[in-house]
């Protein structure tokens, strides 16, 4: 049983100067987040644009742009915030990104093998690796030629998301943060990608923190808990029924009156 524990997390970013004016200095995005994700649990974080959902995911993963000003994040009691980005990944954390970046000249197969080797501390056995890799691509309905393309270079939106889930299935983390993995997907792609996430959950009793703006992905990935995220903190929590309410009524009742 793995536990990701987030306690009273405050995070700020440096706002760069705009239009020749002075830099505005740090701006607080997360204002006291408390959340616990255990193995086998799926938590959906829902909220309007700009509420800080993605900041939460990137802060946990250790993106250098975000500064944790107070609070703690632990994985099985280990202080994640004291670790480098790659150490967090090797501790069992995975972030499926909304906008994965291109890495020119590095093929998907080379990238994944390098990552797998880093995760396991040794190179995977070639024969079983190739077999697993092909099977995982096949399950995600990806063309085998995909393996020889450069990472995210010229990928369509759908290909990028499949590639993220391919990594999730191959690298086998303990806790996955899925940042708007549903955005930009048509219905077929959404189903394929969701099935991949569900397979990863089945295989490894994965704990999932699923960040989304829309409820439609929740038809394919059933959440155990739904958290409404507004203005840098969780304002309401509930079961799957909360998502249905959000779908019917939107976020309006959670937003502060103007």
């Amino acid at each position: 049983m793995t536990v990701l524990e987030i306690r009273d997390l405050h995070v700020s970013v440096d706002v760069p100067a705009t239009g020749g004016g002075e830099a505005e200095g740090p701006k607080e995005i997360l204002r006291g987040v408390d959340l616990t994700v255990r193995s086998g649990e799926t938590h959906a974080i829902m909220g309007p644009n700009g509420s800080g959902k993605s900041t939460l995911a990137y802060s946990i993963a250790g993106h250098p742009k975000y500064h944790v000003t107070s609070g703690t994040v632990t994985l099985d009691g280990e202080d994640l915030l004291a670790m480098s980005v790659d150490e967090r990944a090797r501790a069992g954390l995975f972030l499926a990104m909304q906008y994965p970046v291109e890495v020119p000249g590095v093929t998907v197969s080379n990238f994944l093998r390098t990552a797998k080797t880093a995760m396991d501390g040794q190179a995977p056995k070639l024969r079983t690796w190739v077999k697993e890799f092909r099977a995982a691509m096949d399950a995600l309905k990806m063309d085998p030629a995909f393996a020889e393309r450069n990472v995210n270079e010229g990928f369509s939106g759908g290909e990028k998301k499949r590639h993220e889930v391919l990594q999730l299935e191959m690298l086998r983390p303990k806790i996955a943060l899925l940042d708007e993995t549903d955005s930009g997907l048509d219905v077929d792609a959404l189903r394929v990608v969701s099935e991949g996430v569900n397979r990863a959950k089945e295989a490894d009793d994965l704990g999932i923190l699923l960040i989304t703006h829309y409820t439609r992905i929740l038809r394919y990935i059933r959440p155990d808990f739904v958290h409404v995220f507004v203005d840098g903190r969780i304002v309401e929590q509930g079961g799957p029924e909360l998502a249905d309410q959000l779908e019917a009524h939107g976020y309006d009742r959670f937003l502060a009156p103007a």
Binding site: S84, D86, R88, L95, V103, A115
Partner: protein, 428 residues
């Protein structure tokens, strides 16, 4: 901002060209067009440059000065060849080379090389027979073992409708000024790779000329990893319509190295294409690279398609990359013309992405740099050479710079590869 960028100089092309500026004058007179640059077989036409001239302004004159002194030398490099059947290498006098139609020297180092080769064994003439596919690469390995001045000239005649890959490699210690004149026959397909893997004390100036025959297709690849000062000018002209050129380059400068690549694509014939792509990495104190990409589309060159790109990756502080693309267009009747130049640090987002998959920072950086170069190296059509060059890049990375980059107290690298100018297209 740690970005070292040079804004592109765009010149307008006019009809009546003024006379060429006096070289060696106290002030630099800017050229109105790249077409005005002097080209001559006469040493007297190239006085000693001061370093203020447009084509010398980036070069360390003190260090390259030895190749600008008008002194004959009998010294030469050791030559080692692999010549597939049908391919010949002979020695010819420079007068014969000139009669073959080699383009004229364009700077003092080149004109001295031309003038003095007869004293140092003559011009090497490599001939590829017409209508022949040469399956194995032709190899010419030049090895220096002394610091005497060497004047060298290699003329490559590629027969019409032949297909060949030629690899010229440079190693060891040398003071070499060299001309490499490649005359590509009609319809031929030719790849020429020039490797500069010199020792760290070598001074090398080179003028490469490629004359592209009608409907011929040429790939010119420059790989410069070694040498203290390497200055390579590559000039491309077309002998007829329908020619196509790819000019690729890879360079990696360490502390104290000056690696300069100048390209001039002279679109002087209609319906020709050119694609220039150079990538460089720099690491260490006062590592300096220069890339100048001049493209001139003359009024006669209707239907031209051209694109040039230069990217530089600064791996440490203290390195400097100059990048100057120039595009002159004298006709609107072209298919497209564009250029882009970008110099920057590691992309933080790429590093984050790789690290977020468990890959340690040092390895992530190596992966990014390997990928940066692999793009070009993979287009060299000799598999063994691809492997050799990727290993050479690995060795460069394992050297001074990158180990230090990975240390935790290193300042945060924030700038990303930012295009200084977007690819432009002039459609008509």
């Amino acid at each position: 901002m740690p970005l070292l960028e040079k804004a592109s100089r765009q010149r307008e092309a006019g009809e009546g060209m003024p006379p060429a500026p006096t070289q060696g004058s106290v002030t630099t007179v800017p050229e109105k067009s790249r077409a005005e640059r002097r080209a001559s077989f006469d040493v007297a036409d190239f006085p000693m440059p001061t370093g203020r001239e447009e084509d010398w302004r980036f070069t360390p004159m003190d260090r390259i000065g030895t190749l600008l002194r008008d002194t004959p030398s009998g010294a030469h490099l050791a030559v080692d060849t692999e010549l597939p059947p049908g391919v010949t290498l002979t020695s010819i006098p420079s007068a014969r080379a000139r009669a073959l139609g080699v383009p004229a020297p364009q700077d003092r180092a080149a004109v001295l090389a031309f003038a003095h080769t007869d004293h140092s064994g003559g011009v090497m003439h490599l001939q590829i027979p017409a209508d022949t596919v040469i399956a194995d690469p032709v190899r010419i390995r030049l090895v220096g073992s002394h610091s005497e001045r060497v004047w060298g000239h290699l003329v490559i005649s590629v027969g019409a409708h032949s297909n060949v890959t030629i690899v010229v490699s440079h190693e060891g210690t040398a003071r070499l000024s060299e001309m490499v004149s490649t005359l590509v026959g009609d319809g031929a397909q030719c790849t020429l790779v020039s490797l500069q893997e010199w020792s760290s004390d070598t001074i090398h100036a080179a003028q490469h000329d490629v004359v592209v025959g009608r409907d011929a297709s040429v790939r010119h690849v420059a790989v410069t990893l070694g040498g203290q000062v390497v200055r390579m000018s590559t000039n491309i002209t077309y002998a007829g319509p329908g020619g196509s050129v790819e000019a690729f380059g890879v360079y990696f400068a360490d502390a104290g190295q000056h690696l300069e690549h100048r390209l001039f694509v002279d679109h002087n014939a209609p319906h020709c294409q050119s694609h220039v792509e150079y990538k460089g990495a720099l690491q260490g104190d006062s590592a300096h690279t220069v890339w100048v990409g001049d493209v001139l589309i003359r009024a006669s060159a209707e239907g031209t398609q051209t694109y040039e790109l230069n990217r530089n990756l600064l791996l440490t502080d203290g390195a400097r990359a100059d990048s100057v693309p120039n595009l002159e267009i004298e006709t609107g009747q072209i298919l497209g013309a564009g250029h882009a130049s970008a110099t920057g640090r590691f992309d933080d987002e790429q590093l984050f992405y790789l690290q977020a998959r468990g890959i340690p920072e040092g390895e992530a950086r190596r992966l990014v740099v390997r990928g940066f170069f692999a793009d070009i190296i993979n287009r060299i059509p000799v598999a063994e050479l691809q492997g050799h060059l990727m290993q050479a890049v690995e060795r460069e990375l394992a050297g001074a710079g990158l180990a230090e980059v990975g240390t935790p107290d290193e300042p945060t690298l924030t700038a990303t590869l930012t295009p200084t100018s977007d690819p432009r297209t002039a459609d008509r």
